[in-house]
Amino acid sequence: MGKVGIIGVGQSAFVRGYPGSIRELAFEGFKDAMRDAGAKTEDIGASVICSAPEYDKQRSPAGVFAEYMGLTPQPTFYVETLCSSSSTGLKPAYSLIESGLHDSVAVIGFQKMSEISSAESQERMGRGADIQWESPFGTMMPAYYAMYARNHMATYGTTPEDLALIRLKSSTYGQINDKAVYRKAVTAEMFTDPESPMSGPVASPLRVGDCCANADGSSCIIVAGEEKARAMSDKPVWILGLGAASTSVNLAGRDVFNGLTVGIEAGRQAYEMAGVTPKEIDVAEVHDCFTIAEMMAYENLGFAKPGEGRDLIRGKETYKEGSIPVNVDGGLLSKGHPIGATGGSQIRTIVLQLRGEAGDMQVKNPEIGLVHNIGGVGLYGNVTILGR
């Protein structure tokens, strides 16, 4: 088997209330990636379209997109795993290439969160929980992560102030990322100032500042087999490891409440396939839908021992200059979280980092990067390791 490379990455700006249709939104990321790859539509052998369908008015968007992007008559596939849909899409793309069926595949993720009203959105987000056994009790995403936060705090002594530090880091980079939806500064004082929206209680112990920004957006990753990648690109980034896992929807079926088992398992698979250890990762994107999610990711991916994630953020080790830079593009917290587009955007960030094209967010000379993308409350987990 040859290697599989990423030859083009793109994303739309993440914004509130994108004015166009979902096909126009998706085209923004696609156009960006096609230009980046220097590709024409006939170079693309197949497309994988990724979103969480509960937000889409359009049923079966893959066919509509393939037509709009000029990717017919090539085959197109639709993939969804909630918030991890587009990193999930990378796995079938990789497999289509390794199997020899196609020599290049476009993975297109999108989500227009504003396609429906925010009340509808809240209710539909809740349907990502178990609608038969959990939703009747009024579940919502922050409540689940809040329960993980409470147990992490009780078990390890993590504090709300530690979680706020993660948001401060994210805002540092959100301010310099022109694709980010939330570009304002966030200070520690805001978390204790009752006048600041950041301090508002959501689901104890999580506050508004602990929660990511909703946004509309799209992303696109163009993947090719080794020969084609070398022919089309002078700086391909190679897929070294792919891990994916699932667990029970109903959180009652889980033993551990201090971390996400899917993150641990997907990480184990990806490290094994890539033949690297956590110490060899130079830059990472992790799924920070809530501050506690980034804290758990430090530990689940082996950047810190269980309970010691807080030492990383207290010591600023996950800042750009630190020993393991994490989410130095603002992450979901500041860049925004258009759920079907998120994984592709994370992959784009790491590809730009490995090429040395991340601008003000550039980490010094990284060789190996990691992407951790979670769907639902740790229901689906993907870890992808990329290298130059």
Binding site: P136, F137, G138, M140, A143, A146, M147, R150, A203, A252
Partner: protein
């Protein structure tokens, strides 16, 4: 407890908790597989290991609070604001179950608290019709086991 007559109000998720007409404490209803003796909550129709139908059985109504949160955003389904949800490790069966916690007892919610099940009219079915819901409440000092 609730003063209103709950006789006519239908339970949410029927068959997953008892609604006693006397002073018997309510319990959750799970599934029991006679073949492999596994207990399930919520009850599936079939045991995934044996592929046999499970039978309904009580799995308890007392336990220890494993985690919880107080939700202060606008509640769905006519639930009180704030409302509380959490995970309870049931005595005996050892099952961990998800459910509502008593919104009147927010200050008594702590990890490891001893709790017991109540059944009360809380919220509606999504179309405005009241529903009975199981709800764990902290034990009073000296109460219970």
């Amino acid at each position: 407890m609730n003063e209103q007559n709950t006789d006519a109000i239908q339970p949410v998720n029927p068959g997953t908790f008892t609604v006693p007409e006397d002073d018997t404490p309510p319990e959750l209803l799970g599934g029991y597989c006679r073949t492999c003796r596994s207990l399930y909550y919520p009850p599936p129709r079939y045991c995934p290991s044996c592929l046999e139908e499970v039978e309904s059985c009580t799995v308890g109504g007392r336990g220890t609070l494993h985690s919880f949160t107080v939700v202060r955003t606008k509640p769905p389904l006519g639930l009180p604001q704030p409302y509380c949800v959490g995970y309870v490790d049931l005595d005996g069966s050892g099952l961990r179950v998800f459910g509502l916690l008593d919104p009147e007892r927010v200050e008594d919610l702590v990890l490891g608290a001893r709790v017991h099940l109540t059944v009360r009219s809380m919220g509606h079915d999504g179309r405005g019709e009241a529903r009975l819901r199981p709800c764990f409440t902290p034990d009073e000092a000296g109460e219970g086991s």
